[in-house]
C-alpha cells in the first residue's frame, strides 16, 4: 500500500509518500516560518492562504521524486485536526478532491497521532507499549501508547505549552521567530550558575506541567536587570536558566511517567523534541531507568507530511476510510481515537 500524506494543520505545508513495504519514498516541506517572523507567531489566515498556494506543487514534486504515478497510489491521508480550522480545511479539501477525482480512499488523520507514531519511521523503531512525551508549540502531553491508536493521556500542561513558553521567552530575549532554536543557541553561551529558575510542579505528585510561570520568571529577571551593563551576557544567562529549568522539569516528569506505567521505552515527539539539551538529558534518563529513549530525526519532530502518510497508511491498512464529505476539527481529544486494526 502506497499513501500520500498531507499536513496543513498550522504553519507548515508538508507532503510525503509512504509505502508499507518500501518505507518513506519522498517528502517535501514548505515552512512558512520566514513569513511569520515579523509577527512573532503563527498568523492564522496568512497560514491558510499560503497552504493553498503550496500544497499542489508539493504533491507534484513528491510524486516526481518518488518516481510514482497515480496508478500506484492506494490512498490519501490528510490532517483533520486539531489545529487552525482555515489551515486544516486546505489539506482536507485538497486531499478529498484528489481522492475523489482518482477514485481512491481517503482517511482523516489526527495530527498528534502523527507525531506519536513518527518515531516508528526510524530504525530501530520503538516497540509498543511505550511512554511518549509530546512537546510542541501547541501541546505538552505525556501519553501511554498501548499500541497504535490506543492512547491514554497521563499528563498535560495546565497552562502554556512548552514550545509556546520557548517562543514567548525568546521574544522577551529579542530573538526572532521561531524562537526555540535561537534560544537554544543563545543558551549555549549562558552561565548555568548565574540564575536559578523554578522547576514548576515538580514538588507535587502527578504528571501535570505548568510553564507560564517560567516565562513570567524570565520577564521579571530581565526587568530586574534592565540596567545591567552587559545585556548580551544577561540574555544568554537567562536563556540558559530558562532552558535548564524546562529540561529538568520535563526529565523529572518523564522519569515519574516511566515508573508509574512500569514501561521502559520513552519516545519523544513534537518540535521541542529537536532541542539537543533535552535529547541528551532524556537519553541519559532512560538509560538510568534501565530503558531506552527514541527520538525521530529533527525533521520528523516538527510538523511534516511523512508522519501523516505513515499514520494514514496504518489506518487504511486497517480498513479505515471515509467516503465523500469531510470535516475538520480545531479540537479533537487524542483519547477519542479507536485502536488501529491490524492490516
Amino acid at each position: 500500500m502506497r499513501v500520500i500524506g498531507l499536513e496543513t494543520s498550522c504553519d507548515e505545508s508538508g507532503v510525503a509518500i509512504y509505502d508499507a513495504r518500501e518505507g518513506l519514498l519522498a517528502q517535501r516541506l514548505h515552512s512558512q516560518s520566514r513569513m511569520h517572523a515579523e509577527y512573532a507567531g503563527v498568523v492564522p489566515e496568512l497560514a491558510s492562504r499560503d497552504h493553498v498556494r503550496r500544497i499542489l506543487p508539493l504533491v507534484t514534486e513528491v510524486m516526481r521524486e518518488a518516481g510514482t504515478g497515480w496508478g500506484q497510489i492506494d490512498g490519501i491521508a490528510y490532517t483533520a485536526g486539531p489545529g487552525l480550522v482555515g489551515a486544516l480545511l486546505v489539506g482536507a479539501s485538497v486531499g478529498r478532491s484528489l481522492a475523489w477525482s482518482r477514485g481512491l480512499p481517503a482517511v482523516p488523520v489526527h495530527h498528534l497521532e502523527g507525531h506519536l507514531l513518527a518515531a516508528l519511521l526510524e530504525r530501530p523503531a520503538p516497540v509498543c507499549p511505550f511512554v511518549a512525551l509530546l512537546v510542541s508549540g501547541g501541546h505538552t502531553l505525556l501519553v501511554k501508547v498501548e499500541r497504535a491508536g490506543r492512547y491514554e493521556i497521563i499528563g498535560e500542561t495546565l497552562d502554556d505549552a512548552v514550545g509556546e513558553a520557548f517562543d514567548k521567552t525568546a521574544t522577551l530575549l529579542d530573538l526572532p521567530y521561531p524562537g526555540g532554536p535561537a534560544l537554544e543557541q543563545l543558551a549555549r553561551a549562558g552561565d548555568p550558575a548565574r540564575f536559578s529558575f523554578p522547576r514548576p510542579m515538580v514538588d507535587r505528585p502527578g504528571l501535570e506541567f505548568s510553564f507560564s510561570g517560567l516565562k513570567t520568571f524570565a520577564a521579571n529577571t530581565l526587568l530586574g536587570y534592565r540596567h545591567a551593563s552587559d545585556r548580551d551576557r544577561l540574555r544568554a544567562d537567562v536563556a540558559r536558566a530558562f532552558q535548564d529549568a524546562v529540561v529538568d522539569t520535563l526529565a523529572i516528569k518523564c522519569r515519574r511517567a516511566l515508573r508509574a506505567t512500569r514501561l521502559s521505552r520513552l519516545v519523544v515527539a513534537g518540535g521541542v523534541g529537536a532541542n539537543r539539551a533535552l535529547r541528551q538529558r532524556l537519553t541519559e534518563l532512560a538509560r538510568e531507568e534501565g530503558g531506552e529513549a527514541f527520538f525521530p530525526r529533527a525533521e520528523f519532530c516538527t510538523d511534516n507530511g511523512a508522519m501523516i502518510a505513515f499514520a494514514g497508511c496504518l489506518r487504511l491498512q486497517g480498513g479505515e476510510w471515509t467516503r465523500g464529505g469531510f470535516d475538520v476539527r480545531a479540537r479533537w481529544p487524542l483519547d477519542a481515537l479507536q485502536a488501529i486494526a491490524p492490516g
Binding site: 507567531g41 498568523v43 492564522p44 501547541g138 497552562d159 502554556d160 509556546e164 513570567t216 526587568l223
Partner: protein, 162 residues
C-alpha cells in the same frame, strides 16, 4: 482607578473579585506585556466561578471557552493575530453575542474590529509585583469596577473588625 497585586496569589485574588461583579455580555480587555499575569488573573476569576479544570493559555488556539453553570466565558488571546480582519475569519461576531463574557488579551491587535470594552485592565510589572489600572468604558464596566472596590472595602473592614 489603580490597584496593586504584590504576588501571583494576589493577582488570582483580584480575578476572583472581578468574578463577583460579572454580568452577562461584559467584555473586558486585559493589557500588559508578556509574563505580566493576564492569564493568571483569568485563572483566579475562573476558579472563583467554580471552574476546577485547567486554564490553558489560549495563544495557540486563539480562544478557550468555558461553559460554567449559568455563564459562558470566552478567553481570547490575539497575540498571534497580524491583521484585525482575521477576527472576522475567526467568527468573532458569534462570540460577542451579548450574553457570553469575553476576556480579551492583546486586544490592541484587533483594533478597529473589536468593539470598545466595558472595562479595560492594564497590568504593569513593577519589581515582582504588578500595578493594575482599570478604566471603565461603559456604565456596565463602571458598575463592575464599583463592585470590585466594594469587595475590597468589605474585606478591609472585615479585617479591621476581626
Amino acid at each position: 482607578m489603580e490597584f496593586r497585586a504584590a504576588s501571583e496569589q494576589e493577582m488570582e485574588a483580584f480575578g476572583a473579585r472581578l468574578a463577583r461583579g460579572l454580568a452577562p455580555g461584559l467584555v473586558i480587555h486585559l493589557g500588559g506585556p508578556l509574563g505580566a499575569g493576564k492569564t493568571t488573573l483569568v485563572r483566579g476569576l475562573l476558579r472563583s466561578l467554580g471552574w476546577a479544570g485547567a486554564v490553558k493559555s489560549p495563544t495557540y488556539a486563539l480562544v478557550e471557552t468555558y461553559a460554567l453553570d449559568d455563564i459562558l466565558l470566552h478567553h481570547f488571546d490575539l497575540y498571534r493575530l497580524s491583521d484585525p480582519e482575521e477576527l472576522e475569519f475567526m467568527g468573532l461576531r458569534d462570540f460577542l453575542d451579548g450574553h457570553a463574557i469575553c476576556l480579551i488579551e492583546w486586544a490592541e491587535r484587533g483594533h478597529g474590529i473589536l468593539p470598545e470594552p466595558d472595562l479595560r485592565i492594564g497590568i504593569r510589572p513593577l519589581g515582582t509585583g504588578r500595578d493594575l489600572r482599570c478604566d471603565p468604558g461603559t456604565p456596565a464596566g463602571a458598575r463592575l469596577l464599583a463592585a470590585v472596590i466594594e469587595t475590597l472595602a468589605a474585606d478591609r473592614d472585615g479585617r479591621g473588625a476581626g
